[in-house]
């Protein structure tokens, strides 16, 4: 060993950066595909849940600022006078921003989508509506308005949409819960796939693991090598899946904007808004993808430790 030392090869001439777990294998590529697909579906689920939650908030915000005064026509009463009186009382009640009384024609117009155009509703006792916009922060403070109406227009009925809003909450909550359950199932499916892949990789790399063990590698070092390997695979798969999901939402948003003027587009827009995910939604996609990559690596580390425990 004491021979004359020749020049040490320059850095660029010495190949020395190869990971101890071979980076490319058929099983590895298959795992990337599985993770990409599951990440895509998980991001769609999460994004869909965010869209529904945001749309629900939007409906809630629009509706919850309004309350409706309904006046049913009764024989012998001048309903126009009652409406005018109720609107006058309502507009002066504390916390009310403004009160807009619908004319008879406007009230009948609301029924048109259900009864069709050209139906003569003149003889029917169509209730008259007054839409009351509350000032910000006064939504739950309806007692003064209720009291004022009770004395000035006893026939008026105040509807604060509480029942409808609670149904909306239940529906939105159910959709979000369903999405969360789907998301959890996908994570379990991915965990199972990663588990199989890790065991497969370890079986394929049994020789490597044994050699590493026998040349003095600690379990934590070997597990770290596999963890790094699976983190890279997970990052690649999750990156592809997350990018595809983001692209999907961008395309869906553009398509929704284009189709907005059609009847079907308007219905979808009413349900999901403009399909615009927003910064928080895209941040959620990045977060989901990163979490999946980290989860993949942690899971593989745990499995490798378990397998190594069986070796001496």
């Amino acid at each position: 060993m004491n021979e004359t030392v020749q020049a040490i090869p320059a850095d660029s001439h010495l190949k020395r950066d190869m990971p101890l777990v071979p980076p490319d294998s058929i099983a590895g590529r298959a795992l990337v595909v599985v993770i990409a697909i599951l990440t895509f579906l998980a991001c769609l689920t999460a994004g869909g849940a965010v869209l529904v939650a945001e749309a629900s908030q939007s409906w809630r915000g629009d509706v919850s600022r309004d309350v409706t005064i309904q006046i049913k026509p009764r024989a012998g009463e001048n309903v126009d006078a009652l409406v005018a009186a109720a609107a006058e009382v309502a507009s002066r009640a504390p916390g009310v921003a403004d009160a807009i009384a619908y004319s008879k024609a406007q009230s009948e117009g609301i029924l048109a989508p259900w009864l069709g155009q050209g139906v003569d509703l003149g003889d029917l006792p169509i209730p008259r509506l007054i839409i009351v916009h509350m000032q910000s922060g006064h939504r739950d403070d309806l007692e003064p308005l209720r009291a004022a109406l009770a004395s000035a227009a006893p026939a008026a009925n105040l509807d604060d949409h509480r029942v409808w809003l609670s149904r909306l909450d239940v529906m939105a909550g159910a959709i979000v819960a369903f999405a969360a359950a789907l998301f959890a199932l996908m994570i379990v499916a991915m965990g199972t796939a990663v588990g199989f892949a890790t065991r497969g990789a370890m079986a394929g790399a049994r020789e490597i693991v044994e050699v590493l063990h026998l040349v003095g590698a600690a379990d934590s070092y070997i597990a770290g090598q596999f963890q790094g390997h699976f983190f890279r695979l997970g990052l690649r798969g999750a990156g592809i899946g997350g990018a595809a999901a983001a692209l999907f939402f961008i395309v869906a948003s553009l398509a929704s904007a284009i189709a907005r003027h059609t009847a079907a587009g308007a219905e979808i827009a009413a349900l999901f808004g403009a399909f615009r995910l927003g910064l928080a939604g895209y941040a959620a996609i990045v977060l989901v993808a990163a979490a999946i990559a980290v989860l993949t690596s942690l899971l593989s580390r745990r499995i490798v430790f378990r397998q190594l425990a069986l070796l001496l």
Binding site: M1, E3, V5, Q6, I8, P9, H13, L14, K15, R16, M18, L20, P22, E207, I208, E210, V211, L212, H213, L214, V215, G216, A217, A218, D219, Y221, L312
Partner: protein, 224 residues
């Protein structure tokens, strides 16, 4: 350094394949482990490397009772042992340089810190021009030398070599064996498993551990 006391080994409920093994490997000693094929030489090396647990008896290594060691302690002890496998066990996706540097890499040493000594050792074993070559491209003799270099790179206190000259011609076998003699002279205890009698005869001073019928007989070497 290494002591076996009444060690026995059986697989499952089968008969004992090794029994009543009692011997010691002294520091800076040189010995051959020999016997017919299938007698249990490789199994004995595995017991010495603590990759097999005896079913009875006690193994003491570097002053520690092997039965009382946890995995961390076994790992630490293995770093003091160099091993040359019969089938080389080079990692095919790593270059010769990376394979030889592997024991230092798994210790967590920085590559810049060991590059010079790995390159020097590779040149010493005649693989200076094969550093970036992958094992599947190496000849049998080159693989053998790479495997030996990997065992020597940590300057082990104990070297275990399983048929290290089994796949090379007699001339190269003598040269490889001289590597072990050099290592022994520098203070390492060497155990070489072989069934090549002519090779052992060239080193008459070496002790012979002869395994056969599951038992071991020890023949001291002739100092002359």
């Amino acid at each position: 350094m290494l002591r076996f006391d009444n060690v026995g080994l059986r697989y499952g409920v089968g008969p004992e394949v090794l029994r009543d093994l009692s011997f010691a490997i002294a520091p800076q000693s040189f010995q051959f482990l020999t016997g017919p094929s299938g007698a249990g030489k490789t199994t004995m090396l595995k017991l010495m490397l603590l990759s097999l647990k005896p079913t009875r008896g006690a193994i003491h290594i570097f002053g520690e009772d092997a039965a009382s060691l946890d995995k961390h302690q076994i790992t630490a002890l293995r770093r003091r042992i160099g091993v040359v496998f019969q089938d080389f066990r080079l990692l095919d996706h790593l270059t010769t340089y990376e394979n030889v540097a592997l024991p230092l890499r798994v210790m967590g040493r920085q590559e810049t810190g060991y590059r010079a000594e790995v390159v020097e050792l590779l040149r010493w074993v005649g693989l200076g021009d094969r550093m970036n070559t992958l094992p599947p491209v190496l000849s049998g003799g080159e693989k053998q030398r790479a495997a030996i270099a990997r065992a020597l790179i940590v300057r082990p206190e104990l070297l275990l070599a399983d048929e290290p000259t089994g796949n090379v011609d007699p001339s190269l076998a003598r040269r490889l064996l001289r590597l072990f003699v050099e290592l022994h002279k520098s203070g390492t205890a060497v155990v070489i498993a072989t069934h090549d009698l002519s090779l052992m005869d060239q080193f008459g001073y070496a002790r012979r551990l002869v395994v056969g019928d599951g038992q071991l007989r020890v023949f001291e070497g002739d100092p002359s």
